[in-house]
């Protein structure tokens, strides 16, 4: 499902190159739940962005569903993102002047799905994330936990093959965090491939099969 081989990422900081990801090699099977753990600044977000095709690696191979995403031109890469990737961002990144339902609809527009069907799919996704009662609310009227669910609904609406969550509990209290973990287990049970980047100890309570990958200074340890 996900094949990462010898991945490197460097940023130009001033005049010198800073290595953020260092020879990452990683294989993830379909249906797996992977926890990517590491302290702040260790490179988790960078790795997820590369997996999502939001950023290009400096070198190395990234295959998702046997698609070499780092080599795709924009139009195909966008298409790939729309079809295969669902992402829950650290800061949710909901669009402020759209309602929750319309927010969830955005990835479907990229997939060229008709408006009637798109609305039905968006509503179903909100239902799965248990936030359908807030479908007409704007993000600034939602609590952190509600935004989180909206973001999850948006991430899963197009039925992606890979769901990426970046620090999903960083902005939640313990009750909402616990509820997120339950959702995560539910999605795992349904066969969703998931990668979660986190340094939150609450994931120790995860009661299902999962793999932990520790990352430190851009290296897997």
């Amino acid at each position: 499902m996900v094949v990462v081989e010898n991945l490197n990422k460097t940023y130009a900081v001033g005049s010198k190159q800073e290595r953020i990801l260092d020879s990452i090699t990683l294989h993830i099977q379909k249906g797996e739940l992977v926890l990517l753990r590491g302290v702040s600044g260790s490179g988790k977000t960078t790795l997820l962005s590369i997996l999502a095709g939001l950023e290009k690696p400096s070198s190395g191979k990234v295959l998702i569903d046997s698609e070499p995403i780092s080599k795709l031109p924009d139009i195909h890469l966008s298409h790939f993102r729309a079809k295969k990737i669902g992402m829950v961002f650290q800061h949710f990144n909901l669009i402020e002047n759209l309602t929750l339902l319309d927010n969830v609809l955005v990835p479907l527009v990229a997939n060229r799905i008709g408006v009637k069907e798109a609305k039905e799919m968006a509503f179903a996704a909100l239902k799965r994330a248990r936030i359908e009662h807030k479908k007409d609310a704007h993000p600034n009227r939602l609590s952190g936990g509600e935004k989180q669910r909206g973001a999850i609904a948006r991430a899963i609406v197009a039925k992606p093959s890979l769901l990426l969550c970046d620090e999903p509990t960083a902005n939640l209290d313990s009750k909402n965090s616990q509820s997120f973990i339950e959702q995560l287990m539910q999605m795992h049970k349904e066969g969703q491939t998931i990668v979660v980047a986190t340094h939150d100890p609450i994931f120790k309570t995860l009661e299902c099969e999962h793999r932990i990958i520790d990352i430190k200074n851009g290296k897997i340890v």
Partner: protein, 390 residues
């Protein structure tokens, strides 16, 4: 390519940002309104005097003593007819009539025996009207003349003072449509014999003689022949007339104003749009769209649709308002800039649209507007969305 959910999101975005879009649309419409008004006025004036000029004879022969225009003897016309290369020699009778210190009108006498004059008359009157017009002592008046007479309680006829102090009653036969010609508002048309009486000419006298010289090469030659025809003959060419017109309308100033407005307006728009696009909310929105699988093309298409609808709406609104302002309201204020105070009242702006210039303005406006919006959007869209997401 655009399926309906795309369009749905577009309308949604228009609706959600309605305040901003309305503001931009109105702002742009005002700019277009000003531009198109200036364009309409200068275009209309230019058109009118070109039309006017095309009706003018190639040469006019007058008699001047000192600085004063004095009547000609109409036998001179017969001499002119004999000059080889000359055609359409017309005896003309006209003059200014002062109702009071401030109000005057141009009286033009029409000789129906004259071919051209009768042709002109056929444009103004219906066939069955011509005979009664010529047989009665009546006149055709321009709109502003009519308004003056009506307000002074002469709705049907007017008593002119002849130079020898007698009163001459002349019926108003018809009011000229103000749109028919540039100078018509200030015009009084009457049979030539009647006009002579009011202007103060003897039977054998005329104001001047108009003539055409179809062969351009002969013009300078014929001109000198005309000048030597009699003592104190003054020959006035079409070219001189054109120069006089151009000075009168000063439309070059108007064109300069157009350019000035274009520059200022575009600058203001670019700055405004740059500012609104620099706002991080929109940047972030674009980044989110991109992260959720929109291609660069999708984002550009959405933003183009928004801009195109603003451009189209504001352009139509602006040009329409301009049309109403200039041709229906008579362009108060702006007209002063183009025409001197003295001519302002006597000239009606004839609806005439210079499509080429209008199209040029549209293309200039649309491209500046679209590039001002789309270049920044494109720049955000091509960067890795991760950066804007934070």
């Amino acid at each position: 390519m655009l399926n309906n959910s795309f369009f749905y999101l577009f309308t949604l975005s228009l609706f959600k940002n309605a305040k901003r879009y309305i503001a931009i649309t109105l702002l742009s419409a005002v700019v277009i309104f000003l531009l198109s008004s200036v364009l309409y006025i200068s275009g209309s004036i230019k058109y009118s005097f070109q039309k006017q000029l095309s009706l003018e004879p190639d040469f006019t022969v007058q008699k001047r003593v000192g600085t004063r225009l004095v009547p000609l003897n109409d036998s001179i016309a017969d001499k002119i007819v004999d000059i080889y290369g000359v055609s359409e020699v017309t005896k003309r009778v006209y003059g200014s009539y002062f109702f009071d210190k401030e109000h005057n009108a141009q009286i033009v006498g029409i000789d129906l025996l004259d071919e051209q004059a009768s042709k002109a008359l056929h444009n103004i009157l219906r066939k069955e009207e011509i005979k009664p017009f010529l047989s009665s002592e009546s006149m055709i008046v321009g709109e502003s003349v009519y308004n003056y007479l009506k307000s002074h309680f002469y709705p049907k006829a007017y008593n002119f003072f002849t130079p020898d102090g007698k009163l001459k009653k002349v019926k108003i036969f018809k009011v000229l449509d103000s749109r028919s010609a540039l100078f018509s508002a200030n015009l009084i048309i009457m049979p030539q014999e009647l006009a002579k009486e009011i202007v103060g000419l003897k039977e054998s006298q005329i104001t001047d003689i108009a003539l055409n010289v179809p062969n351009v090469d002969e013009r300078s030659n014929i001109r000198s022949k005309l000048e030597s025809l009699f003592f104190s003959a003054r020959v006035y060419g079409k070219k001189q007339m054109q120069e006089a017109y151009e000075n009168l309308y000063n439309y070059k100033g108007g064109l300069f104003l157009v350019l000035y407005l274009v520059v200022v307006a575009t600058l203001a728009l670019i700055l405004y749009l740059r500012y609104t696009l620099a706002n991080s909310l929109e940047k972030k929105e674009v980044a989110i769209f991109r992260a959720l699988g929109w291609s660069i093309k999708d984002v550009i298409t959405l933003k183009s649709l928004e801009s195109i609808s603003i451009v189209a709406l504001s352009f139509v609104l602006g040009t329409l308002l301009g049309y109403i302002y200039v041709f229906m309201l008579g362009a108060p204020l702006l007209k002063n800039i183009f025409l001197g105070r003295a001519y302002e009242a006597s000239i009606t702006l004839i609806p005439h649209i210079d499509w080429l210039t209008l199209t040029t303005i549209f293309i200039l406006y649309a491209t500046t507007f679209l590039s001002a919006v789309l270049i920044p959007v494109w720049r955000v869209a091509v960067t890795d969305p991760k950066e804007a997401l934070g």
